[in-house]
């Protein structure tokens, strides 16, 4: 496949070239991955600051730090930036870009120029949203009508920005699907693919199928505000619940766009540090596709209290329970992989274990919300907030941090301080639970979400949650500083510090520009740990 005109044995790391043009015009998937990594990390920290501010407002029952309107803006910005700028592109765009060609033994993705174009489109979307911050929206990240059609804040620009981001997401997904179909090295059969690739594939399918629908939904919302179209306006014969249907038809699959890549990361980290072959390879691989499929059939479980029919609610409740099956398959298989393994508690492994533990709590509390009777009570309370943060932080963000620590040596060719990384992990794990576990109780007791003030009886749990957010914030600062310090003065990383069998670890750290000197011939899967040689 490769056209070797350059002499062999000259190792040029992909980070060798310097200068701004070598970055903004790069078509190298590893550099584009870094561009995404920097962008999403930036937005993660920004949206995290918004979270700290709104938790600070909630330290006391009264609205004494910011006005209620500012509070509404804060949670809208926290939610929409976290969702659309960090967690949806997130692992898929950053680690997906870096790892997919390396893991399947390809020199790059199928369409490198399109890949760069996708990043520019992402940037364009961020610029539009930054302009929208002049008069920030106060609708919440879900942009529900009729409020979003009538508020005098700038809904049009922020939704336009999200629409543009959707394009970036679609094109990235398309690129990855074609890459996985067409660019695998000889011998890299479907059942030898690393599980991260299976997860990325399922994610890409979701990006392709779901994103256009939210695109048209947001366009309709924009026409509602600009052209006076009335699809969501009862006064004009429209239906506000139609917006919710459209929105969740995308946004529920989008939840899995956020979580499935993290599941792929966990499936890579656990076998390496348990020194055991992954248990139930095919079950994990196909359960990703199973989750992707079922995710399209459950959207109305966000609307049990919006006035949908009892029959529809019952069917959607049942379908929602079905999602638990492929998800549980993964959790059981990870646990079985750990069983009698020779476990090494590297910081990446700690994040992976935190994922399994926290995601299980997040997943199980989702079943409370999927149950019709319980949901009537729990809908729009802090229980929902706690549930989704257990899935999104306990799941996706733990997976993201795990991936950062695991592939850091490969990507940047440096090591970080492992002891500090473990301390940061400890702060993050404790801080996260102190922040969000009390919110389950608040929700059960009836505390509604999205209010700047609350009754005095909730003060102890609310302030506990705020204290937790400070511990969590401290942990993230320690982790960020540690990782950046590693880039500057970390030790040089060896090629394969963990003895992984996956293809990306068989090339130097950082990988050479062309990934592989010769396209490898794959003869086995990458999970054959613990065999006698």
């Amino acid at each position: 496949m490769a056209n070797h005109t350059i002499a062999h044995n000259v190792y040029v790391p992909f980070l060798e070239k310097k200068g701004i043009l070598s970055w903004i015009l790069t078509t190298d998937h590893k550099r584009i991955g870094i561009l995404y990594l920097i962008s999403i990390s930036f937005f993660f920290l920004v949206a995290g600051v918004f979270a700290l501010l709104l938790r600070y407002e909630l330290l006391t029952p009264a609205s004494d730090f910011v006005q209620p309107h500012t509070y509404n803006v804060l949670f809208t910005l926290h939610g929409s930036i976290m969702v659309f700028f960090f967690i949806v592109p997130g692992l898929a765009a950053s680690f997906g870009n870096f790892l997919i060609p390396l893991m399947i033994g390809a020199p790059d993705v199928a369409f490198p120029k399109l890949n760069l174009g996708s990043y520019w489109i992402y940037l364009l979307g961020t610029v539009i949203v930054l302009i929208a911050l002049a008069k920030p929206a106060d609708t919440g990240w879900t942009f529900y009508t009729p409020y979003s059609a009538t508020t005098d804040t700038d809904v049009v620009l922020i939704t336009l920005g999200v629409f543009v981001l959707g394009f970036s997401s679609i094109l990235t997904g398309l690129n990855f699907i074609v890459t996985i179909h067409k660019m695998r090295a000889p011998g890299m059969t479907w059942h030898r693919l690393p599980l991260f690739i299976w997860a990325s594939y399922a994610t890409a399918v979701l990006q392709l199928l779901a994103t256009p629908v939210v695109g048209i939904t947001l366009l309709l919302l924009i026409t509602e505000r600009t052209l006076g179209v009335g699809f969501f306006d009862p006064a004009k014969g429209g239906d506000p619940v139609l917006f919710q249907n459209f929105f969740w038809f995308y946004s529920h699959p989008a939840v899995y766009i956020m979580i499935i890549p993290a599941m792929g990361v966990i499936s890579e980290i656990i076998p390496v540090f348990a020194r055991k072959p992954i248990f139930g390879y095919k079950a994990i691989a196909y359960s990703s596709l199973g989750i992707a499929f079922i995710s399209f059939l459950v959207w109305a479980h966000h609307m049990f209290t919006s006035g949908i029919s009892d029959i529809a609610a019952t069917i959607f409740s049942f379908l929602t329970f079905l999602v638990a099956i492929p998800t549980a398959i993964k959790v059981f298989n990870w646990t079985a992989t750990l069983y009698k393994g020779s476990i090494h508690l590297h910081s990446a492994m700690l994040y992976a274990l935190a994922f399994v533990f926290l995601f299980t709590i997040g997943g199980l509390t989702g079943l409370f919300l999927g149950a019709l009777a319980a949901d009537i009570h729990l809908h729009d309370t802090y229980f929902v907030v706690a549930h989704m943060h257990y899935v999104m932080i306990g799941g996706t963000v733990m997976g993201f941090f795990g991936a950062l620590h695991f592939w850091y040596p490969k990507w940047f060719g440096r090591m970080f301080n492992e002891t500090v990384a473990k301390i940061a992990w400890f702060f993050i794990f404790i801080g996260f639970n102190v922040t969000f576990f009390p919110q389950f109780f608040l929700g059960v007791q009836g505390m509604p979400r999205r209010y700047a003030t609350y009754p005095a009886e909730f003060e102890s749990l609310m302030s506990l949650s705020t204290y937790g957010s400070w511990i969590l914030g401290a942990g993230i600062i320690i982790m960020t500083v540690n990782l950046i310090a590693g880039l500057i003065n970390g030790e040089k990383a060896p090629q394969n510090p963990y003895g992984s069998l996956s293809l990306e670890w068989q090339v130097p750290s950082p990988p050479p520009l062309e990934n592989f000197e010769e396209i490898p011939h794959v003869t086995d899967w990458s999970y054959g740990y613990g065999k006698k040689k």
């Binding site: 056209n3 490198p112 399109l114």
Partner: protein, 201 residues
Amino acid sequence: MGDGSVEHSHGHHMDPAVEYSSSKLGMWLFLGTEILLFGGLFAAYAIFRAKYPEMFFEQHVELNKKMGAVNTCILIFSSLTMAMGVSAMQRGKQKVTAILILITILCGLGFGVVKYFEYSAKFHHHIYPDTSIFFSLYFLMTGLHMLHVFIGLAILAVLFVLTLKGKFTAKYNTPVEVGGLYWHLVDLIWIYLFPLLYLIG
């Protein structure tokens, strides 16, 4: 998307067969997402037509069936010339391909002109996107389609220039083929829009 000349900046060239099948797969996936984008509008159409059948029946008579029919014929014909262009390129006939792409472009422009007169007539009768749910659907569906006609025309214009420059041969013509696929989608969506909007009842 019409960019099929997948070339790596760092010295890698894809195998032509892989490049061809990758580009085709990529375009088919993209067309799938386009259909889903329109899918939201088709879903809205289905819901509101079931809810207000009388409104759809009464208001659709305002649409000009003749112009709609003419435009349908124009687009179907343009799909034929595009398919012939792809076929000619596969046989290496650059000039014939260029002429056929040019005819396709002229058809697309003709479609736009007819649509311009239709929209003007609507505005003249004070019919706007906010007049009713039916006309909201009419303007949004045909408007989004028109946007796709323009994107298609831009792709065709690039293909026309590149064909004239002799960039494509019997061996390498992936962009012509995937560009053609896009144009067929533009045609196909209109074939659904025409009966749904103009031929109710």
